[in-house]
């Protein structure tokens, strides 16, 4: 009838199952909390073994996309986004890993004079022209974060770069800089009116605010960045090792 699987393909069956499920669970009924077909049924319907089906499902469970409950069934997990340092603070990468689409609600880049804060971070005179990039990003369900970045003039960005692709990959490819060190400050703030409306939360809602300076491998500042994460279900994960 609908989704099938090709035993002669060179892509493993469990991967096909995985991909099939990824598509399947995007359907509204599953977002609504409906249970997936039971493993045994899936196996029969696809004409493969239950173990293989489980293998595919497990992948998604590991990613936190699905939740299994013994004796009950498997359904789509309540979305909790968490940033892992593996992806080095790449929102696009993080979302892609979760099988979610990144939506850029707003994207604007233009040159502005550096304010005190930016000038301090970049060690340039206030008023120096720097490229400012504002991005309102999220999933199809709505905006998740507002990110505002300033780039060091040394990088020689034109403002015409394609900022819709993963930022650090783009920077590395286009101008060969590679972010290496990040100095961050994180705090919780209340959304003021304007911010609340852009992030589509109520005024005063908790916002995870991160201010950071990013340095390249030579230890020179390249980016100054402020991010406002819509608090609901958003988590920032880090591993810290003391040497």
């Amino acid at each position: 009838m609908k989704h099938q699987v090709d035993p002669n393909s060179k892509v493993p069956l469990h991967s096909q199952v995985e991909r099939m499920l990824r598509t399947l669970i995007r359907q509204p009924e599953y977002q609504q909390g409906a249970f997936l077909p039971k493993e045994v049924d899936l196996a029969n319907q696809l004409g493969i073994s239950r173990n293989t089906v489980r293998h595919g499902i497990s992948k998604l469970v590991n990613e936190g996309l699905l939740v299994r409950k013994k004796g009950v069934g498997t359904k789509v997990a309540q979305r909790k986004v968490s940033t892992r340092l593996d992806h080095w603070a790449s929102f696009s990468g993080e979302m892609k890993a979760k099988g979610m689409e990144v939506v850029n609600y707003e994207l604007e880049s233009r040159f502005v004079p550096a304010d005190m804060e930016v000038a301090e971070a970049f060690q340039v005179s206030p008023g120096t022209k720097v490229l400012k990039l504002s991005r309102l990003r999220g999933t199809s369900e709505g905006p998740s974060l507002l990110s505002v970045s300033w780039f060091h003039p040394r990088l020689g960005l034109s403002g015409q770069e394609d900022f819709s692709q993963p930022l650090y990959q783009m920077l590395e490819r286009e101008i060969g800089v590679y972010p290496t060190v990040s100095r961050e400050e994180i705090s919780a703030i209340a959304a003021e009116k304007k911010l609340a409306s852009r992030l589509e939360v109520r005024e005063g809602a908790p916002i995870l605010f991160r201010r950071r300076a990013v340095f390249d491998s030579d230890g020179k500042a390249m980016e100054f960045n402020k991010v406002y994460y819509q608090g609901e279900g958003f988590t920032y994960s880090i591993d810290i090792e003391r040497k």
Copy 2:
């Protein structure tokens, strides 16, 4: 003197394998790049099936701790990210550096049964008695944070220790453990009624919430900790270095 596995235990074999490997790969030879024993050998040596061994290994591969290479073998992955923290999350130290006095508004320690979350973090059975330490701390101007810690029973704490002094210094001096790695999750939440009243903020005020597991130099979990920072003017600083 081999690592073994107990088929009669209620913890699944693949989990036992997982834990066993976690310990095993901490040994220097594996950090050096040595290959793990082959799956078939492991299976034979432990007297279990290769599939079960694979199941255990897969978990670690998923976490990025191990790398498998077809036709070659499995070894410890090259560590990519490492994070440093200057004051290493010592509230006392931080305040002292600012020339402010630390006030303990509440301080309570007692033994409680481990809930699922704590049991998971410590790799013990739920219900195991663990020492729980609650501290409401701040400056003379009012409480700044509520910290709740659980300590691994392995540490052998009596609950009679002097928890009013800097925690990690005390632990190091008293029982010789030394916090080395911290795995953290940070998010912004709204203060619910009870929390709001203890931190003396209005209900719904933004709270910086940090959940973390702290590990000693052997990589064994020693503390599980939740902290609620009163958001106003409170900032969490970290330095991240990508290797």
